[in-house]
Each structure stands twice: as C-alpha cells, then as structure tokens.
Symmetry: C2
Subunit: 342 residues, 2 copies
C-alpha cells in the first residue's frame, strides 16, 4: 500500500500512517508526500524505512492507497480527494478511516465503479444494539487502556501488551476500537463513528464477540475529560466493563491536543476519575502506567518512570523504549484479584 | 395530530405522547391504540383528555401522525409501519423521533412521495463539528438537568423551570436535546442520534446558538452511570458546560429502567459523580433536586421532599405537584455565585 499523509509531519495527526509502518511494515511500499519526496519515514516520523515519493507512479507494485492521517472532524481535503481519484484511476483500492466516507463521495464512488476497485471505509458501521449486560464471561479478564488525552499511545500499549502476553503463552487478544487498530488487527469496531445511543452497546458487543479469549486488551479512545471526545471515552469505558486499566500519558504534555487553552489535570486526578466512573459498572482499578516519552532522552524517561512509580505506587513503562514486559507482568500479577473483585 | 403509541401504556416508554399531550394539548386530536379504544389519555397515562381511537378514520381533522413512543434502540415495529403507511395514504404528514428513520424506509418514502406528504425524522442530523471552546459567553447562565436514570423527568423540569423563570421576567430558554423536547420547542438537537465524535461538539453548538439568552435550561439525557446511554450523558454534560445542575430522580426507583439487574447508587453518589465530571470543564455544582413522585401520594412526596432537602442540603420539589417555583428560585439565588466561579 501507499500511505497518504497530505503533507502532515506531526506524528499524532499522522498516527494511522505511523502505526501501519510500525505493525504492517511489509505492506507499506511508500508514502505519497510531494513536499518531503526523497526522504524516508524515519526522517519524518522517526520510524521504519518507507520511502517518500512525489507521485503515485513511483509507488511500484502498490495496489492499495491508505489514508494515513486522522484530522479532527475527519474531513476529506481537496489534495486527499485528488490523490484518491488518481489512485483509483490507476486501479488501486482505497482504505480510509475518515469520518467522511470515501464511498459516499459521488465522484470517487463513480470512479471506483468504472475502474472496478473497492473502497474500504473502516469507520462505516451500522451499530444499532443497546447494552444488555447479559451472558458476560466472568473468567475473561478485560484490560482497557485509558489516557490523559488523544494521541498518547493507548493503541500501541494495547497491541504491545497483548503481544507480550502471547509470548508468555497467554491467550491474549487486542480489541481494536479505532480506525488504525482495525486496519492492523483486521477486526474491531470504529467506536467513535457509532451513533450516540449505541456506543456502549457496540463496546459490549466486542466483549461478547471476544470473551472466549483469556485476556482482552481493549484499545481506549480520547480521554474522560476531553472537551471533544469524552462521550466516546465513557461509552467505551462502560461498554467494555474492564476490571483493570492501564493509564497512558505523554511526558511533557500539559494541554489538550488541539485545544491549547484547555489544561490537563494531574495523572492522579485522571486515575481517580477513571476508577470512579469505571467502578459504577464493575469493580475496576488502574494497574499500570504507560509512558509515552518520545520527546525525551532515555535518561529523562528513566527518571520520569521512577518518579511516577513512586508517586502513584504502580509499575510504569514506556513500552516502545523499555518493552512491554513490565506492563504485561502487571496484568498477570493482578489477574486473580481483578477477576475476584465484586 | 394523531399520536401512535403501538399499544404501549407505560408512561416512560410513551413519554413522547405524554409530553406532547402535556405541552401541545391543542394539537393532539387522538391517540391511535385499538387495544384501549374508547378510553382517554387520562385513563391510560393520567394526563389530558385526548380520546383513544380504534382506527385512523376516527381522527377527524388530523393532518399529522406522530410516533409517541421511544422504544430502546428506536426500531420501527410492524404495527407502527402499517399505521404510518395508512396515515400516509390518508394524506397525513409523519412526525417521528425514532432512531430508524421513516424517510429511509423505501416503501414508506415511496408512499410519501406518491401522496405528496412530508416525513419529519426529528433524530436525523448531520452534526460534524467538534468542540472548539471559543467565544463562549461568560454572562450566560447554563443550567443542565441531569438524572439518576432515563425517564425521570429531566425534560419536564427543564421546560417548567424555563417557564417559571420567564414568568418572573427572566430571559430563559429551554434547550431541547431529545426528540420530544424538539417537537415541543421547535428547535434543538437530537443529541443521542449524533455520531460519537461529534456529540460534545453538537452540544457546544447549542450553547453558541442560544447564549444570547440570560439563562439556558439544557435538557439532560440518560445518566452518568447508565450502561446504555452514559456516552450521551457525558458528551452533553461536557459540551453544554453548565455552571449549575438540577439533579432529577424518580422516587422508588432503585434499578436502571429496562435493566433490572443493574442497581442505582445513592443520590449523593450521583451528585458527586456529576459534579466531579462536570467540573473538569468548568466549575459546576448541583443547586437543586427535581423529584418525580408520580407513583406516590402528596403526603409521601412531601415527606420525601423534606428528607432529601435535609440529606443533601439543597432545595427540592416535584415540579408537577408543587410547581417549579422552588427550583426557579434556586437558579436565581445561585446565579451570581455560579457565574463568578472560576
């Protein structure tokens, strides 16, 4: 696939591209971004070795064009539209996680029909079920990654901890709830695109579909105080009924991503808010802290790790730097007590 | 209009019909419900004097058919479909607040075209804006009704308090966020039908549209612990940025409506949860308690009122029994301190 980034170089906004490169490196042929042509994904995003190209014709062998950015509101920009139209005319299939459905665009849909290519709108859904709270497997451990903001690494922690648990022989499953996670895992539900009354029910359905696994790692969304996305966060938190939470945050971030005028409270405050809201459904507590230290040195992150472990009395790790063992161990060592809590 | 209740006699499930009779009595010609034909709305719902008819032909002069029930999930039953189809064939317009859009039903839409009648799907919306937190009027007092459950009277409290404030000369506006409220007020947003990522933004938009008024009474939805609808509740709570809350509950209810296995926490716990979650956006506190005592006697409700005022230290009233003066006074007496809170 060729990744479209629409000139975006911010790792947060281009998180779909970044994580496709991280988890599907063998499928990423090139990034289309004329303004950075000649560089690689490592130069721009600090990950992988995917070449950045000026024109689609340079992306040899690619048969899919994937939209690699997640702009607030999820709209289709004119440059994205033009690139998608060209890709379709070259016979490429389209993979999109935008809120604006590519397949609903008359010109693009018509072009796809003419060139006989498929459009996959990952966020398109027909969720219409409400929560029932029946037939929940009490032996399935549900761990949910929550955060102090968007774009702090909740999905990456979920994937890495699930992988680390599987390496230790556990039957762990990453449950994707966002566009990028679904592209990586191949299943899941685009929870932020579900109609309001059915958010909780869509999350509960993911529990019912996956609770034959021993441990679920439920990808979190937004944050419980997020002025834009808190509805998604709470619906998901209540719908997936976690017994345990991993609280994720980015070092150095003190305002809401995209809303600089809104200050973030302390991690302790977030821990309290998540535990209080989650526990109205099911006894639930934070068992570990995921640190995103991408803007800091090894020494700085190590200092932060010690500080936060002391402050909150919980194991903490930057899983991309330290590995996910520490977080996976927290899941295993708390398993019995989390399942036993009433 | 003729109200369709599909045989439902539960006041909660038929709340759209009940509140159209309460606030638009001059427009309600009849209720279509063959199983209760010959009775009146007072016999079934304890309100108004709307005759219940067996067949549409008995609803003389009616030119609108309104769906008066709100089933969980909002789907169109076969009997509702048949009644709507007949109404269309008689030239009546259709007013629906269901999640399943009448205008998306090929047969009904086709019939409407042939008979040249309009279908109004109140929940249909194209909300696609995220919260911006800009240009919020600090002099507009935003009061939000919240509850311990669905169907406890949040909309009625909002309407009654707005009316009581206007009678005292204040420029107060009821801001509708649900299907019934929108049918009554003629504007608002069906917040529970908005796509997840845009719930908070849709509520903020209602603030921006209405903040030229002195006092807004923002209709609440669901409850902050509701297994099904908490996403809607928190998105609305954060989006409308209330400085003050009126906490509404129904006497005698101790489990979630429609989910008997889920117990409701104490009112004190609800007060704490709402204040904690609301205050992450803007300083906010509960200023009064709305009691729904419909299943109890005057003496029992009076005893409950005294008990709850003592317990929570806040004024309380069953607005349909005592009038809304006590609640309106709480708004006025707290106005300065709520606006001054930082």
């Amino acid at each position: 696939m060729v990744l479209l980034t629409d000139g975006v170089t911010n790792v947060g906004t281009a998180k779909t591209a970044v994580n496709l490169i991280r988890y599907k490196p063998e499928e990423c042929v090139a990034i289309l971004d004329p303004s950075n042509a000649g560089k690689t994904s490592r130069d721009i995003f600090g990950i992988g070795n995917v070449p950045i190209i000026r024109a689609l014709a340079e992306g040899k062998d690619a048969n899919v064009i994937a939209i690699g950015i997640a702009p607030a509101g999820g709209k289709l920009s004119p440059t994205l539209r033009a690139a998608i139209l060209e890709a379709i005319s070259l016979g490429m299939e389209v993979l999109s996680g935008l809120h604006t459905f590519v397949s609903d665009d008359p010109e693009l849909a018509d072009a796809a029909r003419r060139h006989n290519v498929r459009i996959f709108d990952v966020r398109k859904n027909t969720e219409r079920d409400v929560t029932q709270r029946k037939n929940i497997n009490p032996q399935c451990l549900r761990i949910h990654t929550v955060g102090h903001d968007c774009n702090v690494g909740k999905m990456v922690v979920s994937v890495e901890v699930a992988n680390a648990l599987r390496k230790r022989g556990h039957d762990a499953k990453f449950v994707a709830t966002g566009q990028t996670g679904i592209m990586i895992e191949g299943d899941g539900c685009p929870i932020d695109a579900v109609v309001a009354d059915f958010i909780n029910g869509a999350a509960e359905k993911l529990v019912l579909q996956n609770q034959h696994h021993e441990i679920l790692l439920f990808e979190g969304q937004g944050s419980i105080i997020h002025p834009r996305y808190s509805a998604v966060t709470l619906g998901l938190l209540h719908g997936c009924m976690p017994q345990g939470l991993i609280l994720c945050y980015e070092m150095g971030r003190d305002t809401v991503y995209g809303l600089d005028q809104v200050k973030l409270p302390s991690l302790q405050k977030f821990k309290d808010l998540y535990e209080l809201n989650a526990s109205t459904q099911h006894p639930c507590r934070v068992i570990a802290i995921g640190i995103n230290g991408r803007k800091f040195s090894d020494a700085e992150v190590e200092e932060e790790r010690k500080r936060i472990e002391g402050e909150l009395g919980l194991p903490a790790a930057d899983e991309l730097r330290h590995g996910a063992d520490r977080l996976a161990e927290a899941v295993i060592s708390n398993r019995e007590s989390l399942l036993a809590a009433k």
